[in-house]
């Protein structure tokens, strides 16, 4: 079930047709899905405080209801080492269309996965797991299942990827924390079932996996066009 705060997030996002990244990450964290320690800064002093708080190097991303594809407008800056660098970036972002603040979060590293969802016409909520990053549509190394997923579904999805070897430790790299990934996908599958009437698609890309954690570094939730009013449920 969606709690009050989750419903509020969906409700106030409906006018945009999608959920702003900090709102999406808050929604995910309410569903027990790990996200970085992010802050929503509306001014430069807030941004600098936030960066001190989470610790440099940080990632800064434009928050704007007009900008779904942030990197296409240079709205993402990764690996900012200090206040000067962040100040430059903040000033650049503040000139972008629909500026509504900057998201500040620590830089997370790891193997990049994509975890996604779509509401399929014939089969309803579908979960995607694949090798992520910017090349995701080139390699198309993905597995799909109908939600809800069982634990063995997640294991078999991982096993069916060509890149499964990367996840299990390849040429001396550390294997990823598989139980953390399974937990994440499991919680995501429950969230997607609960959101099924309101969403069109979700991309968690990348999800950064290491030997210790799996964290959602970016999240894009596209809402259904004719979403039933959240207040009615």
């Amino acid at each position: 079930m969606l709690n009050r705060e989750m419903r509020d997030i969906i409700s106030r996002s409906q006018k945009y047709g999608w959920v702003l990244e900090p709102e999406a990450k808050r929604l995910l964290s309410l569903a027990e899905i790990p996200v970085p320690d992010f802050r929503w800064a509306n001014s430069l002093p807030e941004a600098l405080d936030a960066a001190e708080d989470v610790g440099y190097p940080v990632v800064a991303k434009i928050i704007s209801p007009a900008i779904v594809h942030k990197s296409e407008v240079n709205g993402v800056a990764v690996g900012l080492e200090n206040a000067d660098a962040l100040t430059d970036v903040f000033e650049g972002f503040s000139r972008l269309e629909g500026f509504a603040g900057v998201l500040i979060e620590p830089l997370v590293a790891g193997i990049e996965l994509i975890i996604g969802a779509k509401i399929d016409y014939q089969f309803g909520p579908i979960i995607l797991l694949g090798i992520g990053g910017t090349g995701v549509e080139i390699y198309q190394d993905i597995a799909l299942r109908m939600a809800p997923l069982s634990g063995s579904d997640v294991t078999s999805m991982v096993a069916s990827l060509k890149g499964a070897k990367l996840l299990k430790g390849y040429r001396g790299t550390e294997p990823i924390d598989m139980p953390a990934l399974i937990r994440l996908v499991h919680h995501f599958s429950i969230l997607v079932l609960n959101l099924a009437d309101h969403i069109d698609t979700i991309d968690l890309n990348p999800v950064m996996c290491t030997g210790k954690t799996c964290v959602v570094a970016d999240a894009r939730i596209m809402l259904a066009e004719a979403s039933i009013s959240i207040e009615s449920i």
Binding site: G116, A117, K118, Q122, F123, G130, T201
Partner: protein
């Protein structure tokens, strides 16, 4: 909704029989049922009169017995009224052959049929369909009997949205010796849809394998179908068309662009243990294999051949499908070697594939099949039989089938399907060992056993 009168009628009325046009679909249907099937059939036309030497009933109410099944082949605009008359007169169910409904812009007319039927809890198939083919019992296809290729009765039921695909699939079933329990063309599937047929067939004692040709499901109907399928204790095979309409919309998300309609369809079917056939050829091979065996394999294939070339071909095809062709243990090879005839012992290659060479005789095949059937390193056996090899007799099919009866390890055979090899082929088929007319088909038969959830 009781489907018994639909699929097991004792009395049939054919509505729309023409007194002037003997090629009218209703006349074809009436004639074939009247002349060839063990059911009572009554022609109906509002004008009454005589058809051939039989009385034509002006109204279904005039027929002196209760009608189980009404076959309706009248003009679309008359059909709602006909359906009302059927319901009022206690008819058990209907097949509506007539077109002219949702497929040609008259969704309203079709909706009237559905409303009538639902209100009365009355089952009908169609409209715009061929209806039912129940081997040796009856059929409602408006195709003259002499034009139809008729598969033997057997354990496979097939349900198809398209009548044309259904008839064509029946031709292939007959060619490959796949027996049919029921074939149903559901046409516009206004009332009875795939899910209803799945429910019925899962309980039908004559059906052991359920096959579908699906063009598409309604909203969330696919979800209900796979969820229902997960609890059906019989293998289910689905052939889906419309695979090429991927990526129609410019996707605003990676997931939408990566999870195309067909990719979702395939993945979800596999997730729920439904065997997806990519084409008609796979469909027939899967049906044949799963109608013979209910035994899951991992796909460790032992191969017996008389030709090195065939051994290499089949190994390549297995590899392409991810089936293993494992090395045989020394023990297995020794046991096979000891049981071969002296002349073959020296020249046979006892790797996997086991190449018995052109000198092999029936006894050598049986010996090798026994050896592989008892070897733990393989869990199924492909036999490539080339009957032009002079040591192979017509009895070999039946003899090799007994190896399965004894050892319980699935065997599939490749034999060129030529009339002169008929007895060899029937020796397998009549003993429930599947035989393919191609090497690819034999591998697909193994693939079916690997993918089958209920085996």
């Amino acid at each position: 909704m009781d489907f018994t009168p639909l699929f097991h009628p004792k009395t049939i009325a054919v509505l729309g029989v023409s007194l002037t046009n003997d090629r009218h679909p209703a006349n074809v249907i009436y004639n074939k049922i009247h002349l060839r099937y063990p059911v009572e059939v009554y022609p109906v036309n509002p004008r009454g009169g005589q058809f051939q030497r039989d009385r034509v009933y002006a109204d279904i109410a005039d027929i002196p017995v209760r009608i189980d099944l009404a076959v309706v082949a009248a003009r679309a605009e008359f059909v709602p009224d006909i359906l009302s008359r059927c319901i009022k007169n206690g008819v058990g169910g209907a097949v509506i052959i007539s077109g002219g409904f949702a497929e040609s812009g008259r969704a309203d007319l079709q909706e009237r049929l559905v409303t009538l039927a639902r209100t009365a809890d009355f089952a009908f198939i169609g409209p715009n369909c061929l209806g039912i083919y129940a081997p040796t019992r009856f059929d409602t296809f408006f195709l003259p009997g002499e034009r139809l290729v008729r598969p033997d009765p057997g354990p496979v039921a097939i349900v198809s949205q398209s009548g044309g695909v259904l008839v064509d699939q029946m031709v292939k079933f007959a060619e490959q010796g796949v027996g049919l329990s029921l074939a149903v063309s559901i046409g516009n599937k206004a009332l009875i849809r795939e899910l209803d047929m799945l429910d019925y067939l899962s309980e039908d004692p004559a059906t052991r394998v359920i096959a579908f040709y699906v063009e598409g499901f309604d909203k969330n109907e696919g979800r209900r179908f796979v969820q229902a399928a997960a609890s059906v204790p019989k293998p289910i095979i689905v052939l889906k068309s419309g695979k090429s309409i991927e990526g129609r919309r410019a996707a605003s998300s990676h997931t939408a662009s990566l999870a195309g309609d067909h990719k979702v369809f395939s993945s979800v079917l596999a997730q729920h243990g439904i065997v997806e056939a990519d084409n008609e050829f796979e469909m027939v091979s899967f049906c044949e294999s799963l109608s013979c065996y209910r035994k899951k394999v991992q796909g460790r294939v032992g191969i017996i051949t008389v030709s090195g070339g065939h051994g290499v071909l089949v190994t390549d095809i297995c590899a392409a499908r991810g089936l293993a062709v494992p090395q045989l243990s020394d023990d297995t090879r020794q046991k096979i070697k000891e049981s071969l005839s002296a002349s073959v012992q020296e020249i046979a290659s006892l790797e996997n594939p086991v190449d018995l060479t052109g000198s092999a005789r029936d006894d050598d095949f049986v010996a090798a099949a026994n050896g592989l059937s008892r070897a733990v390193e393989v869990d199924c056996v492909i036999l490539l039989l080339l009957p032009y090899s002079p040591g192979i007799s017509s009895d070999l099919g039946a003899r090799l089938s007994h190896v399965f009866r004894r050892e319980n390890k699935p065997l599939v055979a490749y034999v060129p399907h030529q009339e002169k090899y008929r007895m060899l082929i029937e020796g397998f088929e009549l003993n429930d060992v599947p035989v393919s007319s191609s090497i690819d088909g034999a591998v697909l038969m193994v693939e079916a056993l690997r993918r089958c959830r209920t085996c």
